[in-house]
C-alpha cells in the first residue's frame, strides 16, 4: 500500500496563502511602527528634558536594544500569557516589536533634539516663545530633518524583524513561506520569492524617505 499526500507540489491556491502572510507582515510592521514611533517620540523628548526620566528609562532602552528580538518575542509571549492576557498573536507581536521600536526611536529622537543648535532655541525664546512653542515650531522640525534617515533605517529593520513573529504563532509572510517549504520542499523558489517581496515592501519606504529628505533639506 502506498501513501500519497494530497497537493504536495505548489498550487495556485498557495499564492492566496502567501498573500495573506504578506498582508499580515504589513499589518504587524505598520502597527508596531505606529505604536513604537509615537511612544519613542514622547520617551525621547522626556529623556532630553528630565534627568530623572533619563535614569529611570535607561534599563528599558538598554535591554530592548541589546537583547535579540527572538528572545524578546518569546519572553513577551510567555510573560503576557502568564499574566493572563490571552490576546491574539498579532498583539503579542505588536507589543514586542513596538516596545523595541519605541526604545530605538527614543534614542534617535533624543539625539536629533540635542543636535538642534542652541542659538536657534535661544532666538525662539528671545522672541517670547515658551518652551513648548519653541519645541513645536523650531526644535521638532529641525530634529525631524536630522532624525528622518536613521528612523527610516529602524523601520526597515522592524519590517525584517517582524519575520520573527512566527515564533509566537503569528502567520506572517516568513512563517507562511516556511509552512509551504515544509510541505513542498521548494526551498529555493519560496525563499527567493520571500526575499523579493520583503525587498518590494522595504524599497518604496527607503525611496520615499530619500524623496522626503530632499524635500525638507535646509
Amino acid at each position: 500500500m502506498q501513501f500519497q499526500f494530497a497537493n504536495q507540489g505548489l498550487a495556485w491556491s498557495d499564492a492566496y496563502f502567501l498573500a495573506q502572510g504578506l498582508l499580515n507582515t504589513v499589518r504587524l510592521a505598520a502597527a508596531a511602527t505606529l505604536v513604537g514611533t509615537l511612544a519613542g517620540i514622547v520617551l525621547g523628548w522626556l529623556r532630553t528634558v528630565s534627568m530623572t526620566v533619563r535614569i529611570a528609562t535607561a534599563p528599558f532602552i538598554d535591554i530592548l536594544r541589546s537583547v535579540p528580538m527572538i528572545i524578546q518575542l518569546i519572553l513577551a509571549n510567555s510573560l503576557l500569557s502568564i499574566l493572563g492576557f490571552g490576546t491574539s498573536p498579532f498583539w503579542f507581536g505588536t507589543v514586542a516589536l513596538g516596545a523595541w521600536m519605541s526604545a530605538v526611536t527614543a534614542e534617535v529622537v533624543r539625539a536629533s533634539l540635542l543636535s538642534v543648535p542652541v542659538q536657534y532655541r535661544k532666538s525662539a525664546r528671545s522672541l517670547g516663545m515658551n518652551g513648548y512653542q519653541e519645541l513645536l515650531y523650531i526644535s521638532m522640525p529641525l530634529a525631524f530633518r536630522t532624525g528622518l534617515a536613521p528612523w527610516i533605517g529602524l523601520v526597515l529593520s522592524l519590517i525584517k524583524d517582524s519575520a520573527l513573529a512566527g515564533v509566537v504563532g503569528y502567520i506572517e509572510y516568513m512563517r507562511s513561506t516556511q509552512i509551504l517549504i515544509t510541505r513542498t520542499h521548494e526551498t529555493w523558489l519560496l525563499l527567493m520569492g520571500a526575499g523579493l517581496f520583503y525587498f518590494l515592501i522595504c524599497y518604496p519606504v527607503s525611496r520615499y524617505s530619500r524623496h522626503l529628505e530632499r524635500k525638507v533639506r535646509v
Binding site: 542659538q119 536657534y120 535661544k122 532666538s123 525662539a124 525664546r125 528671545s126 522672541l127 517670547g128 516663545m129 515658551n130 512653542q133 515650531y137 523650531i138 522640525p141 529641525l142 530633518r145 525638507v216 535646509v218
Partner: protein, 252 residues
C-alpha cells in the same frame, strides 16, 4: 527705561559680572565696548532673561526681569535681541521667520502676521526676499532678517550682540545702515560692538566694560576721544591700531 543695578553673574566659579550699574533711557542708543570676556554679551543676555543672574536686579519699564513671578515671555516681546551668529530659522522662509512669533506668541491671524512680516522685511530692505530660505541669503541679509524678525514683535527696546562681528567686511555697512535707520526712528538700543567708529558716530552714550565692571561711561567724545581711565586708553589704543600692525607685532 532699562535700569540695571548691581548685577552679578557667574558661570560656575568664573565671575563674569561684578556688580554692573547702568541705566538706559527711552530713545537712547548705548554702546557697550570692551575686550573679549569683559562681560558685554553676557550682560545683554541677562537683560532679556536668557541668562540668570546671581545678584542685583534688572528692571525693564519697572518690571523685574529675573523675578520668578514675572511673565518673562511677555516681557521678552518688549526686548528684541539680535545675536552675533545670524540665527534665522533655517527651515522657514524669510517671511515665515518674521511671521512666526507674531502668529504664535502675539496670536495674530496668519494673514495679519504675514502682512506685518512683509512690512518689516521691506523696512530692512528685504521686501523681495520673502520666499527665500536663509541659506539663500548672504550673511548681511540674514542679519537684517534677524533684525526684522525682532522688530515684528514691536519691541520697545532692541539689543544688539556684536551683530557685525561674524560678517564679511563688505557686508557690515548694510547692517549698520539698518541700525542707523532704527536709531533715526527713535528706537531705544543697547549695542554691544567692537566697531569703535560706529560707537563714536551713533552712540548717545558709550560704556566701557572691563573685567565685569563698568569702567567708564559717558558720551562718545568723553569715553572714546578723551578716555580718563588707563584701562580704557589701553583698550582703545589696541582697537585703533591698524590690523597690519597687529599682524606684524604678533609675528615678531
Amino acid at each position: 527705561m532699562i535700569r540695571i543695578s548691581n548685577v552679578q553673574k557667574a558661570f560656575g566659579s568664573v565671575i563674569v559680572l561684578k556688580g554692573i550699574d547702568l541705566t538706559v533711557e527711552k530713545g537712547e542708543l548705548v554702546c557697550l565696548i570692551g575686550a573679549s570676556g569683559s562681560g558685554k554679551s553676557t550682560l545683554l543676555q541677562c537683560i532679556n532673561g536668557l541668562e540668570p543672574i546671581q545678584g542685583g536686579e534688572i528692571l525693564v519699564d519697572g518690571i523685574s526681569v529675573h523675578d520668578p513671578k514675572t511673565d518673562i515671555n511677555k516681557l521678552r516681546s518688549k526686548l528684541g535681541i539680535v545675536f552675533q551668529q545670524y540665527n534665522a530659522f533655517p527651515h522657514l522662509t524669510a517671511l515665515e521667520n518674521v511671521a512666526l512669533a507674531p502668529r504664535v506668541v502675539s496670536k495674530r491671524s496668519r494673514a495679519v502676521a504675514r502682512a506685518l512680516a512683509q512690512k518689516h522685511l521691506e523696512h530692512v530692505g528685504l521686501g523681495d526676499k520673502g520666499d527665500s530660505l536663509p541659506s539663500q541669503l548672504s550673511g548681511g541679509q540674514q542679519q537684517r532678517l534677524a533684525i526684522a524678525r525682532a522688530l515684528a514683535m514691536e519691541p520697545s527696546y532692541m539689543l544688539f550682540d556684536e551683530v557685525t562681528s561674524a560678517l564679511d567686511p563688505e557686508l557690515v555697512g548694510e547692517v549698520l545702515e539698518t541700525m542707523r535707520l532704527l536709531k533715526s526712528e527713535g528706537m531705544t538700543m543697547v549695542v554691544v560692538t567692537h566697531d569703535i567708529n560706529f560707537a563714536r558716530e551713533s552712540a548717545d552714550r558709550v560704556a566701557f566694560l572691563c573685567q565685569g565692571e563698568v569702567c567708564e561711561i559717558g558720551t562718545a567724545e568723553e569715553v572714546i576721544d578723551n578716555p580718563r581711565k588707563e584701562q580704557t586708553q589701553k583698550f582703545l589704543r589696541r582697537e585703533n591700531r591698524k590690523p597690519l600692525e597687529i599682524v606684524r607685532s604678533s609675528v615678531a
